[in-house]
Symmetry: C2
Subunit: 430 residues, 2 copies
């Protein structure tokens, strides 16, 4: 029987993704050697609470709470960081790279903020630093962007990259639930965390957009560069009107590479029901990529969860093992060789959906239209409904493409008009 | 300014994909060196007709009709085979590999039939042989399966991998056209070839299924192992009934890795309208992959065309350039290390949609049901309609999962029953 080399790895963290990664590595043992030419052995698992972790592993001897043992062990070739958060993850990754160890991480916070420094350190030490699991869970997207689509100038990367908010919006759309009830259901089902802020305010999606934009456009975009706006203000009424206008409402991460700079943002958007992203529902994620050669392409799958995320982590580990066997670690490192400017939100053009309550009398519509006209905003579609039992009409309209600042100017004017009782919703349109 | 190495390549063929590849390589020149650490230079383009080809290239000096010049030129590192068909493509690829040249090919016919031999030759000479463009055009799928999803036991790969037939079925479904008219339209628009047999009979899709199954299940499946059935018998009536039953009809390539062996087949299928593949329309392709870790994932995009296919070709070329720079060519070769049995169609289980014309009288339905019952076929859904102005009723039903041979036995019995005037359609159900 052929003897295969053994590559020893350390897992940092045994939470959801850590446990999943451990399971997948165990399950892959049978064919691993033939598939990648080596065996991967988990030599250490770094945990805080040794007692609690014992139940989760077959061989409790691998558990340790001492990072120094790991980083100083010359046998460890790959460190798999699955602790999440900024520290101590950041320090561990840097120390591992400085010790010549390759790193796989699922840590979007860290890659979205400190990607440049981490990838720089990897390059300096000729180590691999892979992070497929940091964006859209199990969906292959980083490697396709860096390799399969390398022959493209990618102009746009857009997607549904947060499962929690997509589940909430799906329940609101399919079951007519209001936001608060859908959020409560998501919490009960374990799809939303105890503190759901990072999800519902678009921060989690924003981190993924930063990473996707950096890889797609070969120019560094950090989380601080990404405009984020959550879904807390979306109502079932907005979704009903959107449907009437042939659209779905999704929390979209949008990154565009335009001649005047990069746009990177996360906010709710109306999107045509026929667009492939519109039918991505529940906890599924999807990333839509537009390149000058490939044209439209989309990657769809589970954006989170124990095993799907572990699939991405183990894919990265296996890739590094193949690199080690072929002596080509660091083969593809940081690909941000451009320094493109990043646009502010005021410079960005959008179409808008706006829903407002107005006095139900002659001439109101003309007034609204003239405010938009005076601010270079033209109207593409409009609905007007009488509100039952009230002296109020509801106007819903979609504008043509307009600079954000012109649209904001119109809103300021509406603010001072007595005939306009309330601007109920303002949502961008794809 | 940094000096970058120059990698010289030869293009074989200057048809649609060859022209696209030439264009994409020209367009990528600006950032190529920074992106992949080297410049790719097209030194030769092999064509049959030098005169005709001159108009297509900026530097006619690269055109040649002499393969020997190319294969004997030690400067040529990569041969890009885009001639299509079996010969002389096969000989060229083998001679190139034997001369130590890496090969990129978009040739599905060849990879689906002779993949084992070609990849064997590549391995023997430590060369890369990449074929991302052979399946689903621009959609990244081979590299994701071999690398990103390497941590999975993949149980199913299924997809819409032929754009021509998907366009025809989309027109039949959306515009109510019959097959012949939709085919005519496809020809007029240039979506169908002069001889459309390979597309409409499922042969083209069958080749892609062979390649996908081989990569996904780590076991060789050739085109000869794939059952193929085209869409020529599908009618607008079938599609209407399918819609009524909540389904779309698609030409699906299905490959499954079951405990009793591999299933590999192409045939029309009813698929639930909510399945992500159901909304893939027109010329788009999509490949749906199920793995034990990643669960459901889908890859969507343009399955053919000049630039989308060139995107895949150039992605492969760039990957080889990176391998050359890192000295790790042949890093991932043939991954078929298993030898799994392949099931015959008779052993496969399916659900069936069947539409038949029967005598419109008491007891007919009971007779139909009892034939199915006697052959272990149970019925999941049924519709019965009187046919206007005739003494005939139309029965449409969907069976539960059943072995193909049991279902075939039922059909034989129907054949001899006078109350059954015609079995109009038999289509499998996903």
């Amino acid at each position: 029987m052929k003897e295969y080399p053994v590559i020893k790895v350390a897992l940092l963290g045994l939470g959801t993704v850590g446990t999943g990664t451990y399971k997948v590595l165990q399950k892959q043992k049978e064919f691993m050697a033939e598939k990648i030419g080596a065996m991967v052995e988990v030599k250490y698992i770094l945990v805080r609470n040794l007692e609690k972790a014992k139940a989760k592993v077959a061989d409790p001897g691998v558990l340790t709470n001492d990072w120094n043992t790991i980083v100083q062990d010359p046998e460890i070739a790959i460190v798999i960081e699955l602790m999440g958060g900024m520290e101590p993850a950041r320090t561990c990754i840097l120390e591992a790279l400085r010790a010549g160890k390759h790193v796989v991480t699922a840590n979007k916070d860290l890659v979205a903020s400190d990607g440049e420094e981490l990838l720089g350190a990897a390059g300096e030490h000729q180590c691999d630093l892979l992070y497929e699991a940091a964006v859209a869970g199990g969906i292959p997207i980083i490697r396709p962007l860096k390799q399969c689509l390398a022959g493209n100038n990618i102009t746009e990367v857009m997607g549904i990259v947060n499962g929690t908010t997509n589940f909430i919006l799906s329940r609101m759309s399919e079951d007519g639930m209001e936001f608060e009830d859908a959020l409560k259901l998501a919490s009960e089902l374990g799809y939303a965390e105890a503190d759901p802020t990072a999800d519902i305010e678009g921060l989690d999606a924003g981190r993924k957009v930063a990473i996707l934009a950096s890889v797609a456009f070969n120019s560094r975009v950090t989380f601080a560069d990404v405009y984020t706006e959550g879904i807390t203000k979306i109502t079932a009424t907005d979704i009903r009107y959107a449907k009437e206008l042939g659209c779905a409402i999704k929390l979209l991460g949008v990154a565009r590479n335009t001649e005047s700079g990069i746009e990177a943002r996360v906010h709710p958007m109306l999107i045509d029901s026929k667009h492939p992203l519109a039918s991505v529902s529940d906890c599924y994620n999807a990333v839509f990529v537009v390149g000058d050669a490939v044209q439209d392409t989309m990657f769809y799958g589970q954006g989170a969860g124990e095993l799907p995320t572990a699939s991405a982590v183990v894919g990265d580990v296996f890739d590094i093992v193949r690199n080690i066997s072929s002596g080509c670690c660091g083969r593809i490192g940081c690909t941000c060789f451009k320094q493109l400017p990043i646009k502010t939100m005021e410079q960005i053009e959008s179409k808008y959906f706006i829903r407002m309550q107005v006095e139900d009398r002659f001439g109101v519509l003309a007034s609204v239209a003239s405010v938009f006209g005076n601010n270079s905003v033209s109207i593409a579609q409009m609905l007007q409904r009488k509100v039952k039992g009230k002296d109020t009409a509801e106007i819903v309209l979609i504008t043509d493409q307009v600079e954000e600042r012109h649209f904001a100017d119109s809103l300021k004017v509406f603010d001072g008009m007595s005939i306009i009782k309330e601007v109920s919703s303002v949502i961008r349109v794809y």
